[in-house]
Subunit: 69 residues, 6 copies
Amino acid sequence: MKISARNVLKGKVVSVEKGATTAHVKIEVAPGQVVTAAITNDSVDALKLGVGSDAYAVVKASDVMVAVD
Amino acid sequence: MKISARNVLKGKVVSVEKGATTAHVKIEVAPGQVVTAAITNDSVDALKLGVGSDAYAVVKASDVMVAVD
Amino acid sequence: MKISARNVLKGKVVSVEKGATTAHVKIEVAPGQVVTAAITNDSVDALKLGVGSDAYAVVKASDVMVAVD
Amino acid sequence: MKISARNVLKGKVVSVEKGATTAHVKIEVAPGQVVTAAITNDSVDALKLGVGSDAYAVVKASDVMVAVD
Amino acid sequence: MKISARNVLKGKVVSVEKGATTAHVKIEVAPGQVVTAAITNDSVDALKLGVGSDAYAVVKASDVMVAVD
Amino acid sequence: MKISARNVLKGKVVSVEKGATTAHVKIEVAPGQVVTAAITNDSVDALKLGVGSDAYAVVKASDVMVAVD
């Protein structure tokens, strides 16, 4: 499947924390650069995500903001 | 200002394309890893964004999805 | 690629309208039920979307609201 | 109330799962086509959502992505 | 229609700027406090929005971030 | 840090409710006008948010919808 989301960052899962319904998955996309995703517990199971899994962090361009110092 | 968004990736602006109301700003956050943001033209002006600007790509954790091959 | 987004609705593209930077793509996901996506013009090109294309409308669960009469 | 969100899909609630703060509500919007919404527990109560309720899944066009095989 | 979105701020439209596909609508929700919405041109027409219209700015709780100085 | 998000509403935190992974923070941005944010528990800690804290509710323009009666 090819998706319209412009941001697809390859990395490795470094932590998975399940909550009651919402899980937090951290993916290291570059040395020292970790992206946090809040997804459903169901998705963690469906994608069989665990520490060490190869995974992509995917973000729609309209969900990215820009900041400056 | 310190923000709750869990993902704040430091980089450099590599392109700015203004549309009628919506602009696309590309930020290189790691060598070869470019993030695209769709923001308002007004924000481009307010933040004085241009090619070469230091900038952060900011994403709320609930807007990050995870994918696997 | 398998994605964490819980909502992947199969359908057919019924219209594509490009703007200056943002395009509107309409996908019929059930008879008479059309979903509108606002994505980048770049994505329309990258996915080669046109009227009649098979396509999926993909939505993260945290972006779905519920309403009642 | 009439809303700007372009996607308002009519259906019936088929499951409600409350978490600690976030609930998952599944709405069948066409035979066999179920949409999952992650909303606050408060909203489930305010809208009195339960299995069998008539309800709409509402999505802003800018939150819809497109994918192809 | 009653919606799950937790944030429904009543106000008056103070400007409408249509782009090629995306419009910017500004709503004053309290004296001096203006909220900007980026919605489709189609929605502006469907809701007959113009300067002076009574309108609500509606935001899902999961789309609100918090910042501190 | 200066952010592209067009909506930055100043206020005071009136409640913080932590869940398993997701917290709900309510900010009064005008007399009687309260905005609810669903953010990670981690962010509540990182920003040291508590009742009475000065804080901003921050929303990207593309996440704001408009409604009329």
